[in-house]
Amino acid sequence: MNAARLRLRELGADTVVQMTRATRENAEWVRAIADDGAGGDAARRDLREVLVAGLMRVLTARGADGDLCQDFAQEALLRVRERLYGFRGESRFTTWALSIAMRIAFDELRHKRFRDVSFDAMLDGARSPLAFEPRVEATQERSAMRERVLRALADVIDGKLTEKQRAVLVAELEGMPHVVIAERLGMKQNALSKLSHDARKRVKVHLEALGICEADVLWVFE
């Protein structure tokens, strides 16, 4: 392990405290990060330390080691530079840079977590008719309401969603993140968001049309 990495390993949460209270104002950060000279190098080094310390603080418990956090920070630094002039100054610069690092790191960890999960098996499941786990309710009234809600869900999911909407809905319910679903379906994430929104909207409209209200749902399922 080189000296820089050893030092970063020794840095704890306190580093985040110190760095996010760094003396640079937002405008100064933007200027310095854009600077290709020595001043820019120092700012990029400082920002990198902020990113690594922040990543280590939240990712160590999720199984990411120092080297991986270094890699995430490096990628985030590149993306920060690419998006530098999109920074609107509505937060501290370091918080903004950390938000970009969070997205990069968590997306990568999501891809790893679902690497061995078969999407095809999930799609096969999505093609079969909807069923629900049996449950005995305390009263007949409650049981009837449960039946009514579940039948409504089966009707809309089996009958009113497209095959792709069903697939997305099922993958979401199985806990698969959008970044992974989009990759498996070969779609852009914003197109996937639209697909998911349209599916949820159809479910909502169908339940409302049948007069199934929030109170009914809460009564049976909360």
């Binding site: 949460a13 985040v16 405290v17 760095m19 996010t20 209270r21 922040g54 603080r57 939240v58 990712l59 999109g86 509505e90 937060s91 501290r92 918080t95 903004w96 950390l98 938000s99 970009i100 969070m102 997205r103 968590f106 999501r110 499941g125 999505a126 093609r127 079969s128 008719p129 909807l130 069923a131 629900f132 786990e133 449950r135 809600v149 579940l150 869900l153 809905l169 099922v170 979401e172 319910l173 806990g175 993140p177 959008h178 970044v179 994430q189 914003n190 968001s193 639209k194 929104h197 949820r200 909207k201 479910v203 909502k204 339940l207 929030e214 749902v217 399922f221 909360e222």
Partner: protein, 78 residues
């Protein structure tokens, strides 16, 4: 396809939270830093961030990233 009760609840929650106009995960990212600071400081969510708040309720991935960022920012403020 057999849905467990927890999945049914999750679907019903998502349906209830669905709005005609929603932001997506990229839009959320552009608001996340500001929203994380608001949350870390315990301030009321301003009008401009309500859409981020709505997206947070719907999207587990963005919720996870936001929680991590709030943890870092809160740590930095102590």
């Amino acid at each position: 396809m057999r849905l467990r009760d927890a999945q049914v609840r999750s679907l019903l929650d998502a349906s209830r939270e669905t709005r005609d106009v929603e932001i997506d995960c990229d839009d959320f990212l552009s608001l996340m830093a500001e929203y994380a600071e608001v949350r870390a400081e315990g301030r009321a969510v301003p009008e401009g961030l309500e859409k981020a708040c709505a997206h947070e309720r719907l999207c587990a991935s963005c919720r996870e990233e936001l929680a991590a960022l709030v943890e870092i920012v809160s740590g930095a403020r102590r």
